[in-house]
């Protein structure tokens, strides 16, 4: 049987956006589209995933309320064995990383992750992904005759919308001993700042150099009426709380104006802000990836621009 299988991704009872994006991606491949919902209570999630373009929804009940590696892997192995899809799509997410590649290894499938382009060429699939820090891209092909498992880059496709008319079936999967157990979640420490609601973000990255320089930009942000946000290295260094982090492992933001100082534009960061209204990037590196998504840019020293801006506000 041919067709595409998608594994729905969910967290704390809610369907994650990446699943809808996978539906859009699958649409370009043709053939029947099946979405698998692996959860303790798949019902509501199955409804949420019943989108235009989805032909079938298969639910698999598992014991654990939250994501758990062994049961997810067992479920996927059973699904692939039973449904035999040409292509299985998962999101390139922290959870999928834990079992997607494992299933590929076990069932000897073709595999690639962080894919942002897929196409069917006759019988085979061609995937496009980046290498070497996003400086180059490559087209990949997969061993003939084997199913392919791909982890797709979040936000590379737009989310599918509109209701569908998928049939819902259930698949029984014999439980596998869980060798790891979810204990609890720890929320990021609450903060009085919610960067996702601000219209204007002034964002700083590694390019600001030393911790002491944060103050200058924080003051500038206040003067300009912006909320200060940061990229990952600033949080990793312990200089700012993660509540201010923009990016895949931080917050996704969509302000009217996103003014970035000293941010190079790593893929994970861009994923968190590239849909902003107007993006202005200031960086001393002309090759910085952020200039690819920015509407306006300048290759110039950040501090001299900041000094000048201070005079204007």
């Amino acid at each position: 049987m041919s067709g595409v299988l998608i594994v729905a991704e969910h967290l704390q009872g809610r369907l994650r956006d990446v699943t809808r994006e996978l539906v859009t991606a699958a649409g370009g491949l043709g053939g029947p589209l099946t979405v698998a919902v692996i959860a303790r209570d798949p019902g509501p999630l199955a409804e949420a995933v019943n989108l235009s373009g989805v032909d079938e929804i298969v639910t698999v009940r598992v014991d654990s309320e939250e994501f758990e590696v062994d049961s997810s892997q067992a479920a996927l192995e059973a699904l692939v064995a039973e449904r035999r899809p040409d292509v299985t799509l998962l999101g390139f997410t922290v959870n999928s990383m834990s079992f997607g590649p494992a299933v590929a290894a076990k069932l000897e499938c073709g595999f690639a992750s962080d894919v942002f382009g897929i196409a069917r060429e006759g019988e085979s699939i061609v995937a496009t992904r980046a290498f070497y820090g996003s400086k180059v891209q490559a087209e990949l092909e997969f061993p003939a005759g084997s199913p392919v498992i791909l982890l797709l880059r979040p936000t590379a496709w737009s989310p599918a919308e509109g209701p569908g008319q998928a049939t819902v079936t259930e698949l029984q999967v014999s439980p596998r001993t869980a060798r790891s157990r979810h204990l609890e979640f720890v929320e990021a420490p609450p903060s009085d700042v919610d960067i996702t609601t601000s219209d204007f973000l002034l964002s700083i990255g590694r390019g600001i150099g030393e911790r002491e320089n944060i103050e200058q930009f924080a003051a500038l942000a206040e003067k300009m009426g912006a909320t200060l946000s940061v990229s990952r290295p600033i949080v990793d260094a312990g200089w700012m709380p993660s509540a201010r982090q923009v990016g895949q492992s931080g917050k996704t933001v969509k302000p009217k104006v996103y003014l970035a100082f000293g941010i190079s534009g790593a893929v994970q960061h861009l994923a968190g802000m590239k849909t902003s209204g107007t993006i202005i990037a200031i960086n001393t590196d002309p090759e910085a990836a952020i200039f690819d998504v920015a509407h306006y840019g300048a290759v110039i020293d950040l501090f001299s621009v900041a000094d000048e801006l201070e005079k204007l506000f």
């Binding site: 997607g100 494992a102 980046a130």
Partner: protein
């Protein structure tokens, strides 16, 4: 307590690149080599587990050619006890499946209590080799670990893993297990050149990494992506740039 750390010598490109004649990979002349950043955190974490346990062994393994030994020496200089290099099997861009199979053949017989790998490598960003290796060794695994508390006697570890959005998932995993380590989990110690040079005297076991089995993928074509229009330049001097920014901000927010 024995920990095995899988490290990778990654390739970094400058702002210029040319491709090999078959257009399937980057010309090595344009490539600089370095230890994968995630792996330095993994080695550091393994060293800390060993230090906390009081004794034990940290073994570092890599798949690569001669030039990959530099990465191993760096790890030995940090304090790893032994290093093994598995001779590269493919001239193609290394795919996670091939790498994982080569690693499994060596890591398995070592019978470690913990296997560490970086979450991903900075050049391939597949984030898959660790998980595939765990599957081939039939080890439980946790991906994207940001904190580790290892209970050797109880044969389990309590870890924190970082989900998207900053949410932390606290997981308990049976050991032996494989953990993929995220940056920021610790501060990797500095390896002095003196220590690196002395590590040059240490023997590195070289093992032939032949394996059958299809790769995960094959690169058909590699290319520099066409740049979009790019950002509109704002100006040459700080004063002009600042003025333009102010105008744009005022216009957009009104």
């Amino acid at each position: 307590m024995k920990a095995v750390v899988c490290v990778k010598q990654v390739r970094t490109l400058g702002d210029e690149v040319e491709f090999t004649s078959d257009q399937r990979d980057v010309d090595p002349d344009f490539v600089e080599l370095a230890v994968n950043e995630w792996d330095t955190y993994a080695v550091e974490e393994a060293l800390r587990v060993k230090e906390a346990a009081g004794d034990g062994e940290v073994v570092v393994v890599t798949v690569g050619g001669d030039e990959a030994e530099e990465a191993l020496r760096r790890c030995l200089a940090m304090g790893a006890d032994r290093a093994i290099r598995i001779e590269s099997v493919t001239s193609d861009v290394a795919d996670p499946f091939t790498t994982a199979r080569a690693l499994a053949a060596v890591v398995g017989p070592e019978a470690p209590d913990l296997v560490f790998a970086g979450v991903q490598s900075s050049d391939s960003v597949q984030a898959a080799t660790g998980t595939m290796l765990a599957e081939l060794l039939d080890l439980p695994r946790v991906a994207v670990v940001t904190r580790l508390a290892y209970d050797h006697a109880g044969k389990r570890a309590t870890v924190q893993r970082e989900l998207e959005g900053g949410l932390i998932d606290v997981v308990e995993v049976d050991t032996p297990a494989l953990l993929t380590i995220q940056t920021g989990i610790n501060e990797p110690r500095y390896a002095t050149l003196r220590a690196i040079k002395q590590a040059n005297q240490q023997e590195i076991a070289v093992i032939d990494g032949s394996s059958d089995g299809a790769p995960a993928y094959r690169v058909r074509r590699m290319f520099v992506p066409p740049r979009g229009e790019g950002a509109e330049p704002l100006g040459d001097t700080p004063a002009v740039v600042a003025q333009r920014i102010a105008e744009i901000v005022k216009a957009r927010l009104s």
